[in-house]
Subunit: 249 residues, 2 copies
């Protein structure tokens, strides 16, 4: 790969540029973008012309830069998430209507929980997740359910990288994992919002390992946790079956 | 931008690589990918390592290459579509339930209709659209509604680029545009599927120009077209208002 004088590649720069935008900052001035992406302003202007030409970035009439529609199109036409999302969406609508709470579909990604889809509900309890946002594994029912149903080497690798954190926050980690596997779902109280409890059930492949996780947040002490968990487990099996996985459990 | 010996830039290559995947071919062997993207195989292997390292592409254990989850994440965190989609989704569910038909949200993009979101319905009539897929403007109610409510310079530019096609397929183009604007929606019979009719109503900004379009496909001659159009127009106004546009029309 051709490198710039400073030694980082075009691709490094592109990823840093794309990574400069998020849900809170969907558009940036060229100067802010250059600063965030750590690219000299003169190079940034040249790069921007190229990226705009390819439709990966767009510049509005006030000079604010945002992600281009072409980038969205390329990334959404065939991502791993597309098939899963399409199959999961009707089941998520069922959960959303039956429980009257926000429903999420998430995957384990780079040791974090990546939100793939979210259906919101007016009046539902507070929930900080947003689509394509990330949440920490150790603080969410989604993360713990994903981990419990991961391949042993994935769990092992995660623990290697986050041993101190997990020892501090989940002192009985092995027992907890075993319980989640036994129950078929994970729940977690009040880490993110003291008024709420998260429940999460894994969507499993033929080998019984997680592909993704379905979750809701319900008001704490509402008695909704067990029914919510059962709804999630039922929907997760439906999704798994609709994806072509048929194993009896 | 640093160029390869053949003179095309890293960015040209990257876009051709991403463009090699679509809904029908979500994964490719390295050889097929190199061929599709018109990149020499040796260069392709080097590029692939880099792209995989950044999470933009992923390679499975059988050597099949697909788009990486990181690419999806970067493109979906802050795209122009994200806010629109979030606001539109509850209205789309209403339409989906009230009419019992597939409901779509689309935008005008590079002279084509880009599908942003789609809610499907079991038993709904045939519809070829898929999320992040494209449809031709001149053959869809979505396209004609988007065009009719575009700024004059956008309509002019489109006509300049597609005059022969539009003359052949829409000989009374001006009258048709005027009628769509008067009715507040576009409909089109049986182009894609002779059994169906599409109806589409634009989502407008403060100036009365389209931001996007909401559409359904209903069975032809079912008497559903007028009610569907009214549902779409109602929902489109709700979306426009929820986005912060308040103009009376």
């Amino acid at each position: 790969m051709a490198n710039s004088p400073s030694g980082d590649s075009m691709l490094d720069r592109l990823v840093r540029i794309l990574d400069s935008f998020d849900a809170q900052t969907p558009s940036l001035s060229v100067s802010s973008l250059a600063r965030r992406a750590q690219i000299p302003k003169a190079s940034m202007y040249r790069l921007l012309d190229d990226l705009e030409g390819h439709g990966l970035l767009a510049k509005d009439k006030n000079g604010q830069v945002s992600l281009g529609l072409r980038l969205w199109e390329l990334a959404n036409r065939s991502a791993a998430t597309v098939g899963l999302r399409k199959v999961a969406l009707p089941f998520m609508e069922d959960i959303n209507q039956l429980l009257g709470q926000n429903t999420q579909l998430s995957m384990l990604h780079e040791d974090e929980v990546l939100i793939i889809e979210r259906l919101s509900r007016p009046g539902a309890v507070v929930n900080q997740a947003s689509v394509a946002g990330r949440m920490p594994v150790h603080r969410t029912s989604m993360g713990m359910a994903l981990l419990a149903f991961s391949r042993p080497e994935v769990i092992h690798g995660f623990l290697e990288r986050h041993r101190d954190l997990m020892n501090a926050t989940h002192p009985h980690f092995r027992a907890e994992m075993a319980e989640i596997r036994r129950n078929g779902f994970a729940s977690m109280d009040g880490y993110i919002d003291v008024e709420s409890t998260g429940a999460a059930a894994p969507i499993l492949d033929d080998s019984g390992y997680q592909l993704a996780v379905l979750s809701v947040v319900v008001p704490r002490d509402s008695g909704l946790l067990q029914p919510a968990a059962m709804a999630l487990r039922t929907a997760s099996r439906g999704i798994s079956r609709a994806l072509g996985y048929y194993r009896e459990r």
